[in-house]
Symmetry: C2
Subunit: 238 residues, 2 copies
């Protein structure tokens, strides 16, 4: 079916401990068990991990990579709802509530992702109170971000939202070794689909931020030159 590259199996124990994964609350033995209920693959840029309305097959754990979660609005326009990164798990909501996926998950760059068997995860999640709590915290965080997005879309203009998005991308995906370049590269269209505006407006306002020296556009890269002014542009109280 899909043209997935099967990957050498990752070790869940290493993975869970290296970071902030939800599984870090489990015992080593429990984590070890996950190894026998998962498979790993590489998703190339643009490939779907799952699609809106489909039935979940398991839990996706991002080992490395960047994933966008989006939906299609009434007029066929894409809306990016969330962005996920290394150590994040995605698709857990549909598993926990036994519903279909409400969003599609698409790789923004080549990503190494493990898939944990549906039944194994669901059983574990409901059996282990520590894990339940972590998953509840996860969805609560997703809700918090969604609510912030609502306030932003309602009350901020496009310039403020762009600045905010740049700061968010920095906070989420970090910077390259130079300490200035955003690690993630979104197309102008993805940018627009994230902050709720037109591609042209994104291009125009990024170019304006570039002219004013707050950011620098070098090819596809975006460098953040003046964080303070970017924060002020985003109209964020610190």
């Amino acid at each position: 079916m899909k043209n997935l590259i099967q990957l050498q199996q990752k070790n869940c124990l290493e993975c869970a401990l290296k970071g902030h994964s939800v599984f870090s609350v489990l015992s080593d033995e429990q984590i070890e068990k996950i190894n026998h209920h998962k498979s790993c693959a590489i998703y190339k840029k643009g490939q779907y991990l799952f699609t809106q309305f489909s039935r979940p097959v398991g839990l996706f754990c991002i080992y490395t990579g960047k994933i966008k979660l989006s939906t299609i609005g009434t007029d066929g326009k894409e809306q990016i709802i969330r962005l996920a990164k290394d150590g994040d798990i995605i698709g857990y909501r549909a598993l926990m509530t036994e519903e279909h996926h409400r969003l599609s998950a698409i790789a923004l760059e080549d990503s190494s992702v493990c898939l944990i068997e549906k039944d194994f995860f669901v059983k574990l999640a409901f059996q282990e109170p520590q894990l339940s709590k972590r998953v509840f915290k996860l969805i609560s965080e997703d809700l918090r971000k969604a609510e912030e997005q609502i306030v932003s879309l309602s009350q901020k203009n496009v310039r403020e939202r762009i600045a905010e998005a740049l700061l968010f991308l920095k906070a989420t995906y970090g910077l390259e070794a130079d300490g200035k370049t955003l690690s993630v590269r979104l197309s102008r269209e993805d940018f627009a689909d994230y902050i709720g505006t037109s591609t042209e407006s994104v291009i125009r306002l990024l170019s304006e931020l570039n002219s004013s020296g707050i950011i620098e556009l070098v090819g596809k890269k975006i460098l953040i030159n003046d964080i303070e002014r970017l924060v002020r542009t985003a109209n964020i109280i610190v």
Copy 2:
């Protein structure tokens, strides 16, 4: 402190069974126990049940009434995030994650509300898998609505969002006995704070929908005259 009118205690058993409350998954004995860990009160229109940033004191169950959940944006403007009604529980997220409230809850009309003791509810919620699942479904629904709100704010114009909001209010709070009048009365300002626009735009567009015969404005009441055209105005695929 607060000028709350203490109420004759409601019977949780009757309450849980009359509707779609999360507690309907519990046994009668368990529900009976809740009676001993709650108090009931009337909140007058405009009163706060709890405020943003405060520590939760318990779980609020709405017996009758209408509550808005809102936050204040950077420029001091209110943003209504959710609306709650009879049978809904609110404030559960902060309880489950042991965080402060992120939203304020304000009565839109005089409301009869019970408060279940914090520790009692949290213990019960984590002990009873059935209840855990229901609470997870609740937050999942809140997330779904928030995500829909994001798409709407990003992709629809104010006219479409107003029409959508009217349909949402009808779906949530229903109609009066005449089968036409919305049961809830939002001020134009609350309306604006909900759909993310200015009060004047709400007034203008409601008045336009009135002129075109889709709705009818009678004093403070809003009558829905032509649902089909309202759905078309909202640009919803059915």
